[in-house]
């Protein structure tokens, strides 16, 4: 377990007195059919930390976000959020698989923004944002609307409140999707390749919103991305994945400027060659 020792050192250097982690991932494994995408994966995330997950496609990084959002189950291991197991319930000192009610409670802590936005096409922008707070938190319609307008203002789309998703550009859709996830005020936000489906010239309008979010809130954020420049500026810590394992992790400067592992170096070289400079 050389890689763990190595990363552990850098972690301690960066955060000498770590408070209790908001996310604890311990020894989780996950297979799709006979293909194992995650292998005994472990890592912690501290409250307020901004984490970037990078690596070749198929390396399992998106699967981690989907597991944290309860969209995929796990085959083994334990995940704790705020100290509470996500996929399990504690019953008479034993961990048993979680039921829907437990998952429902745990999901209030987590929000997610998807690669393909996944806005609800039959609802207006405003209804996309207010629906979940009204339905899941019992917030009054007027309060939900006021909050939604604040969020739309923050993402620069206050004038689009009554539009349907089909009338928006990709960048606008993604900003609405961010506002929609924020409306539930989760402690943890997951961003799954949120700019991959966007044209290069509008990527920045989405990244701008995320920068603002990072500066103005102390939300914990996990980000799967291919935008290495953004990952470098945005993240406190970078995790490099390959074939379902963390190969290397550390502060962005270390990972991007002086990667230790051969596979990290190879991956970054390929990305640079593809024109995605840091």
């Amino acid at each position: 377990m050389k890689e763990h020792d190595h990363t552990g050192d850098s972690m301690n250097a960066a955060r000498p007195k770590a408070p209790s982690p908001i996310i604890e991932v311990k020894d989780i494994s996950k297979s799709f059919g006979s293909h194992q995408v995650l292998k005994d994966l472990s890592f912690d995330v501290q409250p307020g930390e901004k984490l970037a997950l990078i690596g070749p496609s198929g390396s399992g990084k998106t699967t981690i976000l989907r597991i944290l959002m309860t969209l995929e189950t796990i085959d083994g291991g334990v995940i704790r959020i705020d100290g509470e197991p996500l996929w399990h319930m504690e019953k008479e000192g034993q961990l048993v698989p979680a039921n829907e009610a437990h998952l429902h409670r745990m999901r209030t802590k987590v929000g997610m923004v998807f690669q393909l936005f996944n806005l609800f096409p039959h609802k207006t922008v405003l209804d996309n944002i207010t629906m979940a707070p009204i339905l899941t938190k019992g917030i009054s319609r007027s309060d939900a609307k006021a909050r939604a307008m604040e969020l739309l203002d923050m993402v620069g789309l206050a004038d689009k409140a009554t539009a349907k998703p089909a009338q928006l550009s990709g960048g606008q859709k993604q900003r609405v999707a961010i506002a929609r996830a924020l409306a539930l005020q989760p402690k943890i936000m997951l961003f799954d390749e949120v700019t991959s489906a966007l044209d290069p010239e509008i990527v920045e309008e989405v990244l701008g919103v995320m920068r603002k979010l990072a500066a103005e809130t102390d939300m914990t954020m996990l980000l799967v991305t291919h935008e290495m420049g953004f990952a470098h500026d945005f993240a406190d810590r970078v995790l490099f994945f390959d074939a379902g394992r963390i190969i290397e992790q550390g502060p962005p400067d270390q990972i991007f400027r002086a990667p230790q592992e051969e596979r990290t170096q190879l991956f970054l070289r390929k990305i640079l060659a593809a024109g995605r400079a840091i």
């Binding site: 998807f114 039959h122 979940a132 899941t136 089909a166």
Partner: protein, 223 residues
């Protein structure tokens, strides 16, 4: 021909009365079919095996035995085993229950066309299973269902003609009455066909209007 000329107003009235019975059968039958289709379609998607199995048995039973056989059976046998229903009630019930089975497949198929990303987004927003279905999936699926529902309603209306054989005075029955009273064959049947066709057109355009209303601003690809 003289008889017809003399009394044609009376005969037209008779036809319209028959058409009204046809409309009644179609409307009430469709209402039963609509709710039946949703119940069965959702049951067939249920993760709970017995429910799924029950839906499959129902659907295959009603689709497999001809609607005409079902109607005759209901009309002749049900009273014998203690369910004396009127001809109208029998007609509405059989039409509704039968078309439910066809509609169930439409409901199921349409729900499956809603992209799985929509389910995922609603999980991420922490909606309950019921809320996901009610607010996210069904509103999108129903737009996909409507064109096929329109076909189902037309098939129901067409099948309703068979109630004339259990002496219910619908449009087909009245055209037979007029044929027997006047001896003229072409006019009563041509008139009946025309009225049925107009009803079909009303169904098609009516449902298309609803569909367009619901599809506004929705980028669902329509086939």
């Amino acid at each position: 021909m003289n008889v017809i000329e003399a009394d044609w107003l009376g005969y037209v009235q008779l036809m319209l009365e028959g058409a009204l019975v046809t409309v009644e059968l179609t409307v009430y039958g469709s209402i039963i079919a609509f709710f039946g289709a949703f119940i069965l379609g959702l049951a067939k998607l249920s993760p709970w095996f017995p429910l799924r199995w029950l839906a499959i048995v129902y659907i295959e039973f009603f689709r497999g035995s001809s609607i005409f056989v079902q109607l005759f059976w209901a009309y002749f046998v049900l009273p014998l085993i203690g369910f004396p229903l009127s001809a109208l009630a029998t007609g509405i019930m059989v039409l509704g229950l039968n078309v439910s089975a066809y509609g169930a497949e439409v409901v199921r198929g349409a729900i499956l066309t809603v992209p799985k990303e929509q389910w995922e987004a609603s999980v991420a927003l922490n909606l309950t299973k019921f809320q996901r279905m009610r607010h996210i999936i069904l509103p999108q699926a129903i737009v996909v269902m409507l064109p096929t529902f329109s076909n189902n309603v037309i098939e129901l209306m067409k099948a309703s003609a068979v109630v004339s054989l259990i002496s219910l005075a619908d449009l087909t029955f009245q055209s037979q009455v007029i044929r027997l009273q006047t001896g003229n064959t072409l006019l009563p049947f041509a008139g009946a066909l025309l009225i049925y066709f107009i009803l079909s057109l009303i169904i098609v355009y009516g449902i298309r209007r609803i569909e367009n209303k619901m599809a506004e601003g929705l980028d669902v690809v329509r086939s």
